[in-house]
């Protein structure tokens, strides 16, 4: 019984992390119509940059949350730069944009290997959350609970941003009909930069927050990108609810798959994706078929 409960709790934690990763992915996809293949790299970069400061590799040792904030902002800026300097040069050519993000992801992966080496870095949990919580028979690390809470807060924050602010209304308009949004005076290209930076920042944040659980290693990007893809194929593009539900589903399938069918863990991920593709190509909550 405890086994199942722990597995369930772990799945929700992982789902929370995936949500942080894939919410930005889904928004970028919804608005710019491209799967941002650097998303895994942004996750990894965030994790590495955060870990550098948490461990104190440069001689500067920061508080975990401060390091997370720093990593988030750095990578968000990087995302904005990528959008401004590279993707902007290929307006309307989505295929080329995807390929540029693919090329960048290789450069980022090799860059990380060059700077941080091949050995995994382990990030210690912030001391304030180091303990365990007890629920009857179930003992669960505080830090994992905190991740669930953080994901929930971010989800609510994003929802408020999208549904209750002017910026959010513009983003939704851009997702639904970019041409019409332009006509009524929304500067869609500016939105691209904002959303790209936001998505990059969220991915980096997920990276460093996930650091104590996943550790930071070369290849982390390639482990996370397919998961984000599956979440978005499942949930549908450009939909916050879609990435939320998709993340939880993938979190469960991934963890249960790892525990029960370790050899086929990757393969079981593919089954729900297959079902969705066959029955509902736009995803569970998607607005349009990609």
């Amino acid at each position: 019984m405890t086994f199942w409960l722990v597995l369930t709790a772990n799945s929700i934690t992982f789902g929370g992390l995936l949500f942080l990763l894939s919410a930005g992915f889904s928004l970028i996809f919804g608005l710019m119509r491209i799967p941002n293949l650097t998303h895994g790299s942004l996750f990894m970069l965030g994790a590495y940059i955060g870990a550098t400061f948490v461990i104190g590799m440069l001689g500067v040792k920061l508080n975990f949350w401060l390091a997370a904030l720093l990593a988030t902002l750095t990578v968000a800026m990087l995302g904005a730069l990528v959008e401004r300097l590279l993707l902007r040069r290929l307006p309307g050519d989505q295929m080329a944009q995807v390929l540029v993000t693919l090329g960048l992801s290789f450069m980022a992966a090799d860059f990380c290997l060059m700077v941080w080496g091949g050995d995994p870095l382990s990030v210690s949990t912030p001391s304030s959350l180091a303990g365990f919580a007890r629920f009857g028979v179930l003992v669960f690390p505080n830090y994992r609970l905190a991740i669930i809470a953080i994901a929930a807060v971010v989800a609510i924050g994003l929802w408020l941003l999208l549904e209750r602010t002017r910026l959010g209304a513009m983003i939704r308009a851009g997702v639904d009909d970019p041409d019409m949004a332009r006509v009524v005076g929304v500067r869609v290209s500016q939105l691209f930069t904002i959303v790209f930076a936001l998505g990059a920042g969220l991915a980096a944040f997920a990276g460093i927050i996930g650091g104590p659980i996943l550790s930071v290693y070369p290849g982390l990007d390639q482990d996370m990108l397919p998961l984000a893809l599956v979440v978005v194929i499942l949930g549908g593009t450009g939909s916050l609810l879609g990435s939320f539900v998709g993340s939880i589903i993938v979190g469960f399938i991934y963890n249960f798959g790892q525990a029960l069918l370790p050899e086929l863990a990757y393969f079981v991920l593919f089954l729900p994706m297959l079902l969705v593709l066959l029955l509902r190509p736009q995803g569970l909550f998607g607005r349009h078929v990609p």
Binding site: L90, F106, M107, L225, P281
Partner: protein
Amino acid sequence: MNQRVFALIVAFIVLVTLPYWMAGVYYVNVASQILFYAIFALGLNVLAGYGGLVSLGHAGLFGVTAYATGYMLQLGLGHPLAILIGLLVGLAAMAIYAALSLRSTGIGFIMITLALGEILWGLAYRWISLTGGDNGLSLKTRPEPFGFSLADTNTFYYATLIVFLLSFAAMTVFVRSPLGAALMGTRDQPRRMNALGYHVWAIRFYACLFSGLLTAVSAILFVYYTQFISPQTLALTSSAEVLLMVISGGAGTLLGPVVGAALVVVVKTVVSGFIERWNFLLGAIFVAIVILMPEGLVPGSARLWRLAWRKRTRHAASISGGAEVKS
């Protein structure tokens, strides 16, 4: 046109005599690599170039055939049977792959193929009882068709060359066939093709099968060349490498992927002799080509050539005071 035939004949002679003037065994091996990667790139070009369907999971399909052949040999089957089963498994995998990914086009197709490729990679990596995981599968021997042992470098080169020429011929026939024309039609105007009564999905599906066949053929050459297969072969980097071959050479051209394969293999071989960081360079070349020369080297340099030519003729015309040269 005559110039073209002449160039092709020269290229043919160069390829056939290659082992005799090449500096050493090492370089003949590089040439073999270029040839089978060129077949792979031709296969991807069917979809990415002529079909407008950019697949990012082809390394997965490539790996399926390679693993199937390797596994059959490990079970103790003979080479002809192992190759046949490898081809069939590769085609079957392609059929499933196509059935899933053809539900979408454009970006959706990229995403689905990427996910499928990653799943195949994950299977190769994790399904250790079948694939040996990171240790990979080793092949003990190369086949000996008609008594020629392919263990010899030059013989292997010639076998690869023959298969390459056949594949290239098949590709030429395909592109000029009604099916090839229809495929290009579905790339440019899918709705009109549909309205004209073509079964767009079926055309794309057949194109996928042809692409899968070329991919499987190159995978068998690859697995006999390296006599080893590991999950790394199926990784996204490998899919991207082939795509780079297609795009850098020129997607949707016959010669482009061959030139691209030569470029990528040479750069990779030469560069990895000096630095370890091949991936960084791969990514950088990728970005540079997509931004600066999106149509690829073959059409790109043809365009530059024409441009230069036109400038010269225009210049000549203006000197002689002749009428405007129409472009």
